[in-house]
């Protein structure tokens, strides 16, 4: 028996044991959000985005709930209810490397986010943004064509820039700031030189709802 098979068998037994030791009945119920207003279904967000030592910037965005359902699992220790959401996601941000200003740009991304929230409000999110655009802004730039030199107005380049993110967060029910999150984001810029440039950014920020604030104002 090969080493791989010898390792695989105990792992399979372990998983089966865990699986059958619990009552694996799962109830999935869809949440009716059709009556909710746009602002009820929308969270806005603002976050730091960058890699701390080099590029730094800010991101602004919104998330609109498309679909929400609850998954109830019966466990030995009781019921476990997780909320799953699919959200439309859009962001607009800017980034720069302050030391040389050779990597300044604005970026906008649109896509779908899947998010799971457990009963303690802890969240796991995966976002896939297939639509994205990055516009770089360069400092003083001169274009050379044969012997002709010309200063360029608003120099920079546009790139197709899709991205994916994975992150964790914490829901804060009933608060003005409805949640905070930390994401790791992989952004691609293409065509960049003779290929596609990857960039990894860390995003830390907050979500908030305008609706909540308005209700508070009314109450006051």
């Amino acid at each position: 028996m090969t080493l791989k098979t010898r390792l695989l068998i105990p792992l399979v037994i372990l998983f089966l044991n865990i699986g059958f030791s619990q009552d694996s009945k799962v109830v999935i119920s869809s949440t009716d959000i059709s009556e909710s207003s746009f602002l009820d279904r929308t969270e806005f967000k603002v976050s730091y985005s960058g890699n701390i030592f080099w590029n730094n910037g800010l991101n602004f965005g919104a998330e609109y709930i498309l679909k929400e359902y609850k998954k109830v699992k019966n466990r030995k220790r009781g019921q476990r209810t997780n909320t799953h959401q699919f959200l439309l996601n859009g962001t607009l941000g800017f980034t720069t490397n302050f030391s040389t200003k050779t990597d300044t740009g604005i970026i906008t991304n649109y896509g779908i986010t899947w998010r799971r929230t457990n009963k303690k409000g802890k969240q796991l999110s995966i976002a896939f943004n297939p639509i994205g655009y990055y516009r770089s802004f360069l400092p003083e730039t001169y274009e050379v064509n044969n012997d002709n030199v010309e200063k360029i107005f608003l120099p920079g380049r546009g790139y197709y820039a899709p991205s994916i993110s994975i992150g964790i967060g914490k829901q804060r029910l009933g608060k003005k700031i409805t949640g905070r999150f930390f994401n790791v984001n992989l952004l691609l810029r293409t065509p960049y030189n003779a290929g596609t440039l990857p960039a990894i950014n860390l995003q830390y920020g907050f979500r908030f709802k305008f609706k909540k604030k308005r209700n508070d104002a009314k109450n006051n």
């Binding site: 040389t100 990597d103 400092p139 730039t141 960049y192 003779a194």
Partner: protein
């Protein structure tokens, strides 16, 4: 009505005019202490040039970095920053596909010919910005010593001098020279009873590579060359790198420069090591030339120094060997390096 508007807004108008005046004044060029970052757009690439130092005589030293795929500002340290920048303006340039250079082109849009034209485009931009009376010296290190001759062979009329620092003017010949140089240095070190096990392993490596160019083997030999310099440095034969006060690491996003370097090298390397050889055309370079080399350069072996010096067509040329240096004498003997470069510039400006 009009008077009312003027009265209401007069303070704001005066403030706006004052701000415009201040900011328009700040655009004046302070030639004695240049500190500019400009981009050169040429043939679908945007390439940054970082210009620092004393430009009061409008003398610019353009440094061509190594690689391919190196970074311009890596050279802004030690005596280049503290000494040479006081004598002239130094232009640190990120070449096409390197450092923070960006653009959009196919793989056929990056080759040594286009990159040489980029350098000539940089010269045109500097003249446009700082004046037509600007004068230039060109310095190339390592791969920059390949790109330098390629540039000068296209047009050397704007340059007052060429400084070749451990440059590979003949990449096609470097494979055979690696084998010869490793054998020579390993024999010397074993005879001197220095790091015998290591140098025997080097001889083993050399005996096991293909006798002719091979892409995998040249990569092994190149990596071993850097390792060999580390061993010679630990032995005290090559000086330790001088402490540098630069903060280059914060000026480039690491993932960007690594990705750029890998991509650019993967496109250029095969052509470079199989086809590029300027040895027979160095005689066409007739501007004053200074050849600087580390005695223990394992990356571009010292035989290339003599070849370069012998073949350059300049009537005024000098060869300087740095006895305690490897591939980067600007880091290991920075005082002597600056002294030689400044003297050369002063003699030929």
């Amino acid at each position: 009505m009009m008077r009312k508007i003027i009265n209401n807004y007069s303070k704001k108008i005066v403030l706006i005019i004052a701000l415009f005046t201040v900011f328009s004044c700040s655009k004046d060029i302070n030639f004695s202490d240049l500190n500019d970052t400009i981009f050169v757009r040429h043939r679908n690439a945007d390439m940054p040039a970082y210009i620092h130092g004393n430009g009061s005589e409008k003398i610019f030293l353009i440094i061509l970095h190594g690689g391919p795929g190196g970074i311009g500002l890596a050279y802004r340290s030690n005596t280049i920053k503290s000494g040479i920048e006081k004598e002239c303006a130094v232009v640190y340039f990120d070449q096409r596909g390197s450092g923070m250079a960006q653009g959009s082109y196919s793989e056929s849009g990056i080759n040594i010919d286009i990159m040489a034209e980029d350098i000539l485009a940089l010269v045109k931009v500097i003249k446009y910005k700082y004046g037509n009376d600007s004068r230039f010296f060109l310095m190339g290190h390592s791969w920059g010593g390949t790109l330098g001759p390629a540039t000068l062979l296209k047009d050397q009329s704007d340059f007052l001098g060429w400084i070749d620092v451990d440059g590979a003017h003949n990449p096609k010949g470097i494979y055979a020279e690696y084998i010869a140089n490793f054998n020579t240095v390993a024999a010397e070190q074993i005879e001197a009873e220095n790091d015998i096990n290591y140098w025997e392993s080097v001889i083993d490596l050399v005996n096991n590579v293909a006798p002719q160019y091979n892409r995998d083997d040249i990569s092994k030999l190149n990596n071993e060359a850097f390792e060999a310099e580390n061993v010679l440095q630990d032995r005290g034969i090559i000086n330790a790198d001088a402490d540098s006060d630069d903060n280059t690491i914060f000026k480039y996003t690491p993932l960007t420069i690594i990705w750029n370097a890998n991509n650019t090298q993967s496109i250029l390397d095969t052509d470079l090591f199989q086809n590029i050889d300027y040895k027979d055309r160095l005689s066409e370079i007739t501007i004053p030339s200074l050849v600087l080399w580390g005695r223990y350069d394992m990356v571009v072996p010292i035989q290339f120094a003599q070849d370069s010096f012998d073949n350059l067509g300049s009537s005024e040329k000098e060869l300087v060997i740095f006895e305690n240096s490897g591939h980067s004498p600007m880091s290991t003997e920075p005082a002597l390096f600056a002294e030689k470069v400044i003297a050369f510039i002063n003699e030929n400006k």
